[in-house]
Amino acid sequence: MTKVNQPLLEVRNLSVGFSDGAHSLALQHVGFSLKKGEILGIVGETGAGKSLLARAIIDMLPGDGRIVEGEILVNGHAISKMTAEQRRGYRGGEVALIGTNAKSLLDPVVNVGEQIARILRAHRGINNKDAWREAIRLFEQVGIVDPHRRAHAYPHELSGGMAQRVVIAMALIAQPKILLADDATLGLDATIQLQVLDLLVEKCRELGLAVVLITHDLGIVASYCDRVGIMKSGRLLELETIRSFLNDGPKHPYSQELLDAARVRPLPMGYDQAQNGSQAPPLLEVIDLVKTFHVEGSSEPVRAVDHVSLTIRKGETLALVGESGSGKTTTGQCIVRLLQSDSGSIRFDGTETLSLPDRQFRDVRRRMQMVFQEPYVALNPRWRVRDLVAEPLKLGERLTRAEKQTRVMELLDLVGIASVKADAYPHELTAGEQKRVGVARALAIRPDFVIFDEPTTALDIRVRAQIIDLVRDLQKRMGLSALFITHDLNSVRSLAHYVAVMRHGKIIEQGPTEEIFANPKQAYTRKLLDAELPIEARAEASTPILQTEQQL
C-alpha cells in the first residue's frame, strides 16, 4: 500500500527532444502529479505534444526521442532508474495506453476473443477454456452486446466503438494503476463516445486508477475530468481544477481562447427573416427519396436512404444530424447526384432533377455545390490550390485567364487563405486550410445552395471555430442556403435554423433548431442530445462527477 499523500504518478520538469537537428524541444518543462483515482484531462491542439507526453510516461518515446531533462516517477520510483526488466513490467503492468485508432491496435487476422484470451493466458496462466470464459465476461463488462458472437468477430467486422471497447478490455486485463487514454474516442459517434467514456471513467473510478485523458475536446474534459492541463507547443501552460477553470476562467490567454472557441455561438443571423419568409417557395425539396445498396453476401438490400423528405428555403440552413451510417452523407450525395437515387423526387428551384439527363444537370450543378467531409482526400494531391479553386469555374460563363485569376484570389481571400498559398499543394496546407480550400471550391461559382458534409469533424478547437465563423459569415453575406450534415451538435446550434434527425436512413424528427434542442420528441433525439458534452452545462457549481471526487 502506498502512502496516502504520495502521488501515483509524478512528472517533474520533463523535457523531451529529438536528435534530428531540431533545436526546439518537443516537450518543455512539463510537470504535474496524479493521485490514485484522479482523472486529469490534457487538452491541446495538434502538435502540442500531448501524445508525446503519453509516450514518455509509458516509456516508449518514438524514434530517437529522448528525455533531455527531468524525470517521471511512479510510486516514487524514477523510470529512468529502473532496470530493463522492471521497465517491461511497468509498461505492461502498471500503466496502459489506449490509442486513437483501436482497429489498428488489434491483430487483423485473429478474432478478438482469442486476442483477449491470449493475454489472459499469458498473464494469469489459465487454460484456454477459462480464458475464453473470462474474455467473454470482460466483453460483457465493457458493454459489448452479444459478447459470445462478437468474440468470434475479426477486428474489421467490429464498429469503431466496439473495437475501442475491446482495446479497453485489453488494457484492463493486466490491472494497471495508471491509464493513458490518447484521444481514445476520436472519430466515434457522439453517443458511442459518451458510452465509451462513461465506461472508461466508471471502470477507472471503480478500480481506483489514475487516468490521463488526452483530448482536444474541452467538453470531454469538462464532463469527466477532475483537473485540466492545457498544452501548447510542448509546454503545459496551465494546470487547474476543472471547476475553477470553468467558473473562475482560465488564467492563460491561450486557454481562454480555446474555451471561447469551444463555446456555442448564438443562433445564426437571418433566422427571423427565414421564419417570416416561410411562405416563400422552397429552394430544395426532397420528397420520399430512396436509395438502396446491395451488399455482397446478403440478399437483403440495405436501405441507406428510406423515404426521406426535407425542404430548404432560400437563406435557410438545415442540419441533418445522426450517427455514422444513418444515411446522412448518402442523402447529400443523392442530392448532388454523385449517387443515383432509386425513387422519390428532388426538386431544385422548381425543377425536378432526378429525371434530368447528365448534360442538363450541369446547369443545376452550377447552383448546387458540396463541401466534402475529409479535407485532404477531397483535394487532388497533384493540383495546386490555385487550380483546385479554379476548377469549378468551368461550370460558369467563360472567363479569361486574368478574370479567373482575380476570381481565385477573391475566393481565397473570402475563405481567409493567404494569397501566397495559391501555389501550394494540398499536403503543404494544414487541415483547416484544406477545409477552407474545399469551401472556396464550393463557393467558386456563387452557388445558391451548398451541402456541407461534416465540415467541423477532425479539426482542432480553434480551427473548428474558425470554420463555423466562416460559414456563419457566408450565410450572412451571401444569403446562402445550406444542408449541413454533421454529428457535431455544438456546430448545429451555431449554424442551423432547422434540424432533421436521421436514423437508419429515415428522418425521425425535424423542426426549428431551438425547438428540437429544447423539446425533443423522439427518444433517439434525446439520446443524441444527451451525448453532447457541452462546456456550459458543467460550468455550474458542481457536477455528479465532481461530487464523487469530493467523496473520495
Binding site: 458540396m370 467531409q373 482526400v377 483535394l379 487532388n380 494531391p381 503543404e428 471550391r441 467558386a444
Partner: protein, 281 residues
C-alpha cells in the same frame, strides 16, 4: 527552402548518381560509337581470330576475328534501341488501355484482362521464338515482341491505380465541380496513376535488355553479324569451356551494367515521384 530540399534530393541519392553516370556512358557509346570503336564492328578478320585482350584489341577478338570492344560499343545502339522502343510502344499503348478499362470497368475491360492473362501466362521465350520466327529475325520484330510482352504490364499497373483512384473523394469533388469524364480521366486520375508506370519504364527497359539478349542467345533474336550483346554472349559461350573467357565476358558485363543502370534509375524515380516525399522534407 524548396530549392535546398530539391538539391539535397538529387545529391543525397547515390543510386540516382550512379544510375545517371552509367546512363551517360551508354549515351556516349551510342552517339560516338564510330569514333570510340577502333575497328568496324562487322568486319571479320579470320587471321586475328580469338586474340586475347591486348593493347590492339582491348577486349580481344571473337571466333571470326571481330574486335569485341568495338562490337560491345556498337551493340549499345542496337540493344538500347530495341529496349527503349519496345518499352515506349508498350507504355503508349498500355497506359490508355489501362486507364480506359479501369475507369469504365465493363465486359470489354474483362476481355482485355483475360487477353493480358493469356499473353503473360505464355513462357516468354516460347512466345518470342514463335513471333520472331513468324515475322523474321529483324531487330524491329524483336522490339515488337517485347512491346507485346510489356503492354499488359503497363495496362495492369494503370488499371490497378485507376480502380483505387476512381472512388476517391477528390474525384467525387471534381465531378461536383462539373468535370466531365474526360477531364476526370486525364487531369485527375491519370497524373495520380502514372507514378508506378513511370517507375516501371525503367525496370522494363532493364528487363527488355535482358530479354533481347536472351532471345538472341537462344537464336530467336537478331542475327550475326549484327553486334548485339546477347548474341555475342551466345557465341562466346561455346568457347568458354576452352578457357577463352573474353568473348562472352565483356558483352555479359555490358548487359549487367545496362540492366543495373535502369534498375537504379527506377529506384530513384520511385522516390522522386512520390508526392509525399516531394517538397515536404
Amino acid at each position: 527552402m524548396k530549392q535546398v530540399s530539391g538539391k539535397r534530393r538529387v545529391c543525397g541519392n547515390t543510386a540516382l548518381i550512379i544510375g545517371l553516370a552509367l546512363l551517360a556512358m551508354q549515351v556516349v557509346a551510342i552517339v560516338f560509337a564510330p569514333w570510340i570503336a577502333p575497328y568496324s564492328p562487322e568486319t571479320a578478320d579470320p587471321i586475328n581470330a580469338l586474340q586475347q585482350p591486348s593493347s590492339s584489341h582491348l577486349f580481344g577478338t571473337d571466333v571470326s576475328g571481330m574486335d569485341i570492344f568495338s562490337r560491345v560499343v556498337f551493340a549499345t545502339r542496337i540493344n538500347l534501341l530495341i529496349s527503349v522502343t519496345a518499352v515506349a510502344i508498350a507504355f503508349v499503348i498500355g497506359v490508355p488501355i489501362g486507364l480506359a478499362i479501369g475507369y469504365y470497368k465493363g465486359w470489354l475491360g474483362s476481355l482485355a484482362m483475360r487477353l493480358f492473362d493469356f499473353i503473360q501466362s505464355f513462357p516468354v521465350f516460347v512466345l518470342g521464338m514463335v513471333l520472331v520466327s513468324v515475322m523474321g529475325q529483324e531487330i524491329w520484330n524483336v522490339a515488337i515482341v517485347l512491346a507485346v510482352l510489356f503492354t499488359p504490364v503497363f495496362a495492369r499497373l494503370i488499371r490497378a491505380e485507376v480502380l483505387s483512384l476512381r472512388d476517391r473523394p477528390f474525384i467525387a469533388a471534381a465531378r461536383c465541380s462539373g468535370a466531365t469524364d474526360r477531364t476526370i480521366m486525364f487531369q485527375h486520375i491519370l497524373p495520380n496513376a502514372l507514378t508506378p508506370a513511370i517507375v516501371q519504364i525503367s525496370i522494363s527497359i532493364g528487363m527488355a535488355i535482358l530479354l533481347t539478349a536472351g532471345l538472341s542467345f537462344v537464336g530467336a533474336g537478331v542475327r550475326m553479324p549484327t553486334p548485339e550483346w546477347g548474341l555475342m554472349v551466345s557465341n562466346g559461350a561455346q568457347q568458354m569451356i576452352l578457357g577463352i573467357w573474353w568473348v562472352a565476358l565483356f558483352p555479359g558485363l555490358a548487359i549487367v551494367f545496362s540492366v543495373l543502370t535502369f534498375a537504379l534509375l527506377g529506384d530513384a524515380a520511385k522516390q522522386m515521384f512520390d508526392p509525399q516525399t516531394r517538397s515536404t522534407s
